[in-house]
Structure formats: structure tokens, C-alpha cells
Symmetry: D2
Subunit: 353 residues, 4 copies
């Protein structure tokens, strides 16, 4: 597909945020795609290079406000808007425009749970019902025919890829999941906050959102599905930590084994589940996942370890929060929605060192 | 005590390592101490400023080899030598020389456990029996009269300060402790290793020593004492992670509540236990411990949080691994051993930003 | 002086900024000082530990607004307010209150130059005339009797300590000074700016204020005095760079030798000039100044190197921008103003690693 | 070219170093290339994923020693060996194997200069005479027909791209170039050195190789060619600094204008020279080059600024030292040597944040 007219026309909503920038980085090199629309309300009227100097020189369109956006000819939008805003804007899009949503608006099935965690009633319930949860490896078939895909949060992506097969196999106790999560600072976005200043976040480490992070109910929803029980039955321990690095996310899941399973059994389950997956790699032996293995790539690397406490194991997964944890998985989903090769535009080797 | 002749004469063994340098930083400003001997085998004959340029200009003695060391007049040594070497050298010291050991050689009570984890029989068993475990707040009285104090590892220090009072109070299950630990890179020492190069450790995150780190049996030993059970009954989950920062350590302990205790009960226990401690601070409300609060200081900051899983809680503690986790606690112990004010030389306010 | 009633009462204006925090860190351990007033308009009413968690637990007063401040009993204020604001507030202080100003308001002698670089007429010209430029080593005698000391900018401090003696000695060409400067991110303050976010400033490097930074005219003013010529005759090349570290500043000055001077001559001039200075260290041989040598300390480390271009040399100086470059030098000046030992409260050894 | 048999077979010598790893990252995604041989003497026998975990899973061949290497079928080698070793090994290669050398061995034309700076006589003088200096944009035509291309050092690449056109145009004084250079830590390689440990290089900044770095004579050689004078006539000020970041390099050149040229004239010269270059971008207006603009990409970004000193200007250039400064430029040269599209395999967008 080399003819520009036949390329898929992509719009990126909220292009001034980090997920927007990362979508641009990936889509600029996607052979079947053309970026034809960029919105960013506060940056409307600015050329991309003023907002992201590293993206200058590629002929990208200037930023416009959502109100000014011309949707004609746009085949699909990547949405990196704040939650709440997202649902209102997506509701106004022409039906012909497919949506890959990177916000939190359509991830939670249950409107009451959404309202509890996001502080307001959902304002696009019909869209929410159409939305397919975009954890690609687990929902591939549904994604292919979806109009609206709700890409998972970064933490749920790495957590669920590691745990869902184990819960589904009855090998770990879904009611005793201790998920100790660590993320680089880009996870907090480009908004100006004191705690993400270089001199505050650098050379230090802090937990945040302890047992109160919005990704907890999202994890619980999917763990419950895997366990075949009501979501209300599942509560997970989820403690994220802010790490002094820009990109990368590591999930250390401390799990209780059930049904006589061993750490080796868990590893075998994961290895079988993901045997043919292009982006998921189960390490050999006792090799340890590190975020350095996936920086800038769409890969997820996992391994399982024995615990010293009998009857427990440790499952570790890493992703780049901006790629597999956000814009990369979004491109992967778009590829499915448009019947493209799933790895298209996502074949970057990790950048190390 | 202003007369130099009356000052306590300190020798630092293994002065070229990070714990040695940190001991120098603290002791140079200790009003009752004079650094009179520095040993560093591979750097023997070098002035301090060649080994540590930031310590030039203070009139410190040149490095000598242990063999050349003149012990006459030395009142106390701080020992930052590698394990194994330590026991052999300390065994040769004159009896009059007190020892504050920052190595791992005398931390484990049980010779069989030592041999299992360190790969050789202990070679100074009599000294090991005299040694007092130097977790100051818990063993203060014994330390006062000890000749040989075995300062705890950095991870055990933060972990045990947070958990021992809770185990002792019967409020948490000593057999279900999940200790997810994070440390800055200085914890790995100054030796040349590929994984601690800037370009390898920077901008990334990795677990290491998963369920196999030597600090695990040390933690188990002290938890067992608090629980009043044989050490063999206690196995902890202990997973340390290497964080891209130089200093700082944060312990996220995921605990199971017992005896009907709540997170608030745990906090109250800690608050009471440490009410009069100069270096331990239990935060108010939901304030979150961060390593930034303690950088360069001898403080330990702790708080307790509710978990989403019923019957569980989260206990978080931070220290500077080179101060309270090593050389600072060593100075604190020396102060006790010489009947000095316990905070002497340790009153630095944390360096932030 | 151990009686609290006799301690010097200090107020810190703009205590929520980094220079304010650093002044607190230093003054909390100053034996002759008591911090009795903290102002911070936007944080008024908050306890210090909400603004700076690492400063909790020391019994500091809550933040108040400048309007609410009670000046009675305050002997001296450290002023860390933004420029412009500073002059207005200092003008309202009781005459009995001495002022150590860390802002830019009183550094430039010439009102026209001030107006040109700061965009408005100076609003406290009488105060400006009284102000003594607070580069301690060069203006010590004047500072002792000053009521208002204008502490230099961080860049001018390191630059002038290295260059003024050389210009004064006629050994370098004052009209051909190429000053390539590098600073950590705290130099940009605690205000929220996109370019100082961790994910923007980290893992990267950029110049800023190229040939247009406000520290250029300040350097020119003092170089001109040393050269004995009108300020207008001196123009320096000054290019600062933002470095991905929190603290530290390094000045690489590329100078043209005059009068047959050699690099060795320059070094001798500096060594003689600073022979008795407690905070200035001229390195031996070809030892290289590094910011790691001075982190957290009030020291300035300098050395001189031969250039490959005949007739040129390279002078390198490092400081901690928040200590000698700001709050530390301010404390040093206060000590002089109150006839205290000049090093009081400033004896911290550098924090490395 | 999709048939594997027709792909260019590449060997990488010294594959365990950072330039080797970066060559693998780029070549793994080059459509016309197959990596068929990897040598690494100390890692011989190891699979790539043990040496570089992020490169596991791509089916790369195991590392072998140079002695074991089978050159049959190898079309071209990328050489990332240490200097000295390089010339000996390359001399043994079959004539049919083209060589893209990333070491320093063939960069200097003059054997006496090589001997002076590298401490031994050159041992492959005939090869040195064949070698073409691989600064692609300046030597493109010669590179096309070369068998052996000596890729420039990272510092010379950025410096010369910015300065050679200006010297050639007679707009700057080739005898008064002050080149203040800054590089990330990968520039020091993967060898174990104390000063590149995370805890030593992090949170700090230091110059090194002041007026004695081996890239100085390389720069002088090419500046002299541009100036049309003997190399011995040109001496440059060259001071590199180690910056706490992994990748990236920024050159701040402080230049004296000649022939009445202005900063605007310099910019115009550069803009014209590089108008059609795919990897060189001259920024608009006063936009400032930052290393963040080029991380992971083969781009070089340049701009020119007025100085405050009359008759001077400032030229700033950034590259990723491992891409355009090494392995990326090497791939660019290989493309020319094999008549491939010059940008092939090098179209990565910079990774930011």
C-alpha cells in the first residue's frame, strides 16, 4: 500500500500529551497510515515542532482545537484526552470514524464503579456498552470488529497479561493478589505538577495512590472475569511507585498458589498462552525482566519465580508504559480493526542503552 | 570535649568503599572523634583525595594496608570490609579496640545459616557469639556494653524497624510477610560491575536476588525473635529492586493482620514504640514516606496504610541506605558504646532537593 | 551562645522556594540562630511539612503571608522572593531588620542596566545604593557593616571567584571571556515549567538563555570593576546549559592570556588569592573539578588548565548552586554581618555518592 | 529485496560493546541486511541475549571469537573493536569483505599524529591509506567506492558538521575555535570504569580529557582541510564534559567571525550546505538544539546564535552519540557502499520523552 490516497487517515485527539506524541512517533513510520489531524486545545494553531521539537520536519499538520477539527476523511482517531472530556467528544464523532481510546473513559464495564472512581456519572453509556476492552492478546477477536476500543491502563496491561492466564487456569488465588507496581514518570503525563519536576522526582522514590489508584478496579474487573466470579468478590492489593526514570513499568506480583500449582506450572501456563504472540516474551530459566529490555518497544517480558514462603510465587512483568502500556497497544489494536498485519509499525527493537 | 588528645580515635577499615566514605563524611563533623587510621588494601599509600576527591582538604591520614596498620591508640574501628575478610581481620585486633562492623559477618546468630548463605564455615565463631546485633532502637541496652556490634544490613534495618514491633504485638502474621524492597545503586557498592554502570542502571529498573538475597535470613532471624518462634518457622517473601538513584531505600511491606488488628492499630503500635526516638518519624494521616525525606540523614520515616484486600495492610518505611542503613547507624552505635549523646554527629537535615 | 533568647532571630521570605528550603536546612543546624518567621504567600497557613516534607518534625513555624508577618524581634531576613517583588517588600521592612537578599533585585549597580534586563524601572533606588554585593571572598569588609547584602547569582558566584583575580592581575583579557556554564535543574526554581519536568529535563541536555541570560550583565559589572574600565566596555560570552541533575554548577571559562601569563601563572594567582579562604580550594596538578566534590557543601573548587591554542587557558570552577551559589553564601554573609565565625553552620562535608 | 539469500551479510566485530549493540538494533530492522556473524572475544560462545537481554528473541547468531569467525559469505563488517586491535584484525580479512570501521584506527591521515596520540606506530599503513573518512555528508562520493570507511568519532561528527562549511566559506577563524563539548555516559563504552558507575557519574558533572582528548587532532585534521592549510597550523580548544545521561551529545562552538560575516550569514551557509540532507536539520529562528530532539535517531540538529561579544558567534549542534555519532552513521555509510537508499534502516523518529 504505497499510494497515499489509500492510506488510513488518522486523527490524534489530545496530541500535545505524551501518549499523543508517542502515537505520532509510531504512526509516522507506519507504512499504511497518514496522520491527517491533530487536536490540542491549548496548543491550537501551533505547529507540532513548537509543542514537540523532536517531531519537527516531518510535515505533520498543525494542531487545531477539537471544535475546529474537520472529520471528513478521517478513518480513525486515537484519543489521548483527559477522562470525562473523552466521552463527551467521542460521542460527537461521525459514526464512520473508528476510535482507539487511550483514556480511562471506557475501560470499566460497570457505570456505578465508573462513577465511584471518577467522581461523576458516565455521560456516554451507550458508547461504553459498545466499547471493547483493548488488551489485545486477550480480546483480539472482539477488537477486530469493534468500532470503539478502550485501551487498558498501563498498569492493568502489564498486570493482566501476567496474571489473567494464571487466574483462568486456577493456579493462583484471585483473592490474594499483591501487586507492587513501579512506573517511570511519563506515566503521570505532561501536565505541570510539583511532584513530577526533575528536582522532586529525581534521585528519589515514592509510592502514591496506595490502595486507591484508579487502575485497581480495572484490574479487579478483568481478574474477576478470569476467575468467573462477580467483580465485587475481587479486591486486589495495588501499590504503585514513582521511579526516577522517564519510561518503563515493572509489576512485581506476589501470588498465592492454588490447586497444588508450582512456580514452574505458572511459567508453563504463560509460555503456552503466549507461544505465538509477537510481543510477549517469557524469559528462560531465572532470567530477570528489566524495563531496559523493552524501552521504546511494544514488548512485554515476563518471568515467574519461586518464593521463600511455601505456597507462594512471584510473577514479574515489564513493559514500556508509553508503548505497550498505551500508544503502542493502541496501534496494535488499530491494525486489527483495519485488518492490517498486527505488528505493522511496531517492530522497533528496544533502545538500550 | 574540645581537647584533641581526649577525642576518640577511630580507624576505618575498608575506607575506599562507599560505607567507608560515608563514615568519613559523618565522623569528620563529629565533635568527639578523630579519624586516625584508614585502611584500603588496593589503595594503600594513596591520599584520601585520590580515592575520594570530595574528602580532600580535611587533613585525613593516607590510606594504608591492613597489614601496615598501627592499632596503638585506636579506640574503635568501623569495618567496611567484604564479608569473610572481615572476620579474619577483626579476629586479629587488640582486645581494647572496639568494633562497629558494617559487614555481614556477624549478623547471623546461627553458624549453619551463615555457612549456607555465605558459602563457607564461619571462621571466628567466638567473636560471633559476643557480637550484638546493632539495630539501635531495638538493642540499645546491649549495644552500650558491647565490644563488637554487628550493624544490620540496609534492607533489614528499614524492614525490621517497621515490622518487629508489629510482630511482637501480635498484630501481623509473621509467616505471611511480603517485603517488596527498593534501593538506590550505592547499595551495590563501589566495586566495578556491569549492572551498576550508569548506562545500564540508569533509566531502568530491575529486581535482583529474588527470594535469594542474603538479607532474607537476617530478616527472618529477627522476625522469629519478635514472634517468639524458631527461625526455621519463619520464611519471608523478600524481593529487592535496583532503582536508578544513588541513595535511598524504600520498603513496601504487605502484611496480613492478625488478632483483629487494623491499619490504625499498627500505626498506633509504631507511634508508641518510637515516641521518644530521635531518628524515627511516624507520619501523620495518609502522608507518604519518600526517600527524598531522608537523603543524607539518619532518619527513618514510616507510615501504615489500609489495603483494599480485607484483613491486610501496607507498611512503608524509608531510610538512606548509606546513613541509617549503614554508616549512620554505625556512628549511632559508637555513640552508645562510648556513652556519648546518641545523636552526636548525626544531626544533618535531609538534603532536598 | 546556647541561650535561645540570645539567638539571632531569622525570617525567611519566600520560604516555599528551593533557596528558602536550603536556607532552612542550613539554619536549622546553625548554633546561633533561630528561625522565627517563614513567609510564603501561596502556602500561607500551611505547616512546613506540607510544603517540604523533609523539614517536618523540627518545630519550624507555619508559613504566613508577607502581610501577616510580625517583624518584631526579627533580626535578619533571608529573602528568596521573585525579582521585582523583593524590592517592594524589603522597602517596607523596619530599619532594624538586616537583609540578606538572594534575589536579583539589588545586584546591578546601574539602574538603567537593571531596567533593560528586568523590564521595569527599579522601585527602591535608595536601597539599591546601600546594597553591598555579597560575593563574600571579594567584598568581605563591606559586607560586615552592611544592612542589605545582595547575594550574587549562582553563575556569577562561580564565574567571578575564578575570573576576578585573574582579570585584576592583568593575566587574562577581560574583553575575550568565553564562559560556558552548566547547571543542575534546581537553578530553575520550584515553579512549574514544562522544561523542568523530569521527563523533559531528564536524559537530555540543552543550552538556554544563549547570550541573553540575566547573569551576563552581573558578570560584566564585576569583571569591569576588576579590569578598572567602564562596564559598557565589557561584554562576555555567556552560554548556560541545563544539565540532568538536581544540584551543581560547573563553569568552563575559556580565556585569552595577556601580559605573557601562562596557565601556571593563573593558578598561582588563584592559589595566593584564596590561600586562607575556608571554602575555596584550588586543586593540585591536573585534578579536575567535578560538581560531585561540592554537593551540599559551601565549597568552591577551581583549577586551571593549558589550552591547545597558544595564548589561551581554561579555568574551571564548581559550586553547589543552592549552597555557595545561593543560601550557603547568604548564611556566610549573615555570619559576617553579625560578627559570627564565618564558617558557622556551613561546615557540611559534601554528600557523595 | 525480500529474498534472504540476496540480503547483504553483515558481521559485527566487537559486538558486545555499545556500538556493536546499537549496530544490531539498527541492522535488525534494515530491510536489505542479514546479521550473520557476531564476534566478541570475552563473550565467545554466549548467545546474544546473555550479553544484551534486550536483543534476545531475534534469532541472532551466538557470539564467537574473531579466531573462530567464518568470513565466507560475509559481505561487510562493522568493526567496534578497541583501537590498535582493529588494525590488526582488519588486515587479516579477505579483500572481498568491505569494512565500516567505528574504531579510531583509520581516522588520522598522518601516521606520526596517530603514533603521538595512540602511543604506538600504526601497524596497517597500507590500509590507512585506502581508508576514506566516513563523515557522510562531506565525503559521500568517496565513500561510495571505498572498501574501508573510517567512521569519525562522535565529537568530530557533530563538531565538523557544524564547523567545516563555515571554515570552508571563510566565515569563521579556523585558528580560534573554542569547542565546549558535552556527552552522555555511553560515550565511555561498556568497559568497567569507576567514573562511569551510576553512583559516580549520576547527579554530577565533570570535564575530562581537557585539551588532551584524542578527538582533538581528528577535528584539527578536518578543519585544516577545510581551511586549506597544514594541519599543524590548526589547534583547537576542545573540552569534553561527562553529562549524567546515557545518550546524546551537544557541541557548543564559540567562534570568531571573519570577513565581516554575521551569525545570520553562518546560518545561511549551513542551511544551503545541508538543504537536501535527510539527517541534518537547521532550526528556525532562535530555536535551541537539545539532545532530546535526536535520541535514538540518526539526525543532527544545528543552529547559530549571536554572541554578546562583537565579532563572535555561537554554533550549537546535537546528535545521538551512538547513532549519528557511531553506528547510525556507519549504517549510512554501508548504504552508500552498497548502493542502497542512504536512509535505509535509519528512519527512526527520536524517542522522546
Amino acid at each position: 500500500m504505497t499510494n497515499s490516497e489509500k492510506k488510513i487517515k488518522v486523527g490524534i485527539l489530545g496530541a500535545s500529551g505524551y501518549t499523543g506524541a508517542e502515537a505520532m512517533r509510531l504512526l509516522l513510520r507506519h507504512p499504511d497510515v497518514e496522520i491527517s489531524l491533530l487536536t490540542a486545545d491549548r496548543k491550537a494553531g501551533q505547529p507540532v515542532e513548537e509543542v514537540y521539537p523532536h517531531l519537527g520536519g516531518y510535515g505533520l499538520p498543525d494542531m487545531v482545537s477539537v471544535e475546529e477539527a474537520d472529520w471528513s476523511g478521517v478513518d480513525v482517531v486515537f484519543c489521548g484526552l483527559p477522562h470525562g472530556t473523552t466521552q463527551e467528544i467521542i460521542a460527537t464523532l461521525p459514526d464512520a470514524v473508528k476510535v482507539v481510546d487511550m483514556s480511562a473513559d471506557f475501560r470499566l464495564d460497570d457505570p456505578a464503579t465508573y462513577a465511584e472512581w471518577y467522581g461523576h456519572e458516565h455521560r456516554a453509556l451507550d458508547l461504553q456498552q459498545q466499547a471493547v476492552y483493548g488488551l489485545t492478546e486477550l480480546y483480539r477477536e472482539k477488537i477486530k470488529s469493534a468500532r470503539l476500543v478502550a485501551c487498558p491502563g498501563c498498569y492493568p496491561t502489564a498486570t493482566l497479561l501476567a496474571l489473567v492466564p494464571l487466574v483462568a487456569a486456577g493456579q493462583v488465588d484471585a483473592r490474594d493478589l499483591v501487586i507492587d507496581a513501579k512506573s517511570g514518570v511519563t506515566g503521570a503525563g505532561r501536565g505541570l505538577k510539583q511532584n513530577t519536576l526533575f528536582s522532586e522526582a529525581g534521585e528519589g522514590l515514592s509510592p502514591y495512590g496506595i490502595a486507591s489508584h484508579r487502575h485497581a478496579p480495572e484490574i479487579e474487573q478483568e481478574v474477576a472475569k478470569a476467575a468467573g466470579c462477580p467483580t465485587a468478590d475481587i479486591r486486589v492489593n495495588f501499590v504503585p511507585h514513582l521511579i526516577p526514570m522517564s519510561r518503563g513499568e515493572l509489576i512485581t506480583s506476589h501470588v498465592r498458589l492454588t490447586g497444588g500449582a508450582t512456580a514452574a506450572d505458572l511459567k508453563e501456563t504463560l509460555a503456552k498462552t503466549y507461544a505465538d504472540e509477537p510481543f510477549i516474551r517469557i524469559l528462560k530459566g531465572k532470567d530477570i525482566p528489566q524495563t531496559q529490555m523493552v524501552r521504546g518497544s511494544n514488548n512485554c517480558v515476563i518471568n515467574v519465580f519461586e518464593d521463600r514462603i511455601p505456597g507462594r510465587a512471584i510473577v514479574i512483568a515489564v513493559i514500556d508504559n508509553l508503548v505497550k502500556g498505551s500508544s503502542g497497544q493502541a496501534v496494535q489494536n488499530m491494525n486489527l480493526m483495519f485488518s492490517l498485519r498486527e505488528t505493522c509499525g511496531l517492530e522497533q527493537v528496544a533502545l538500550f542503552p
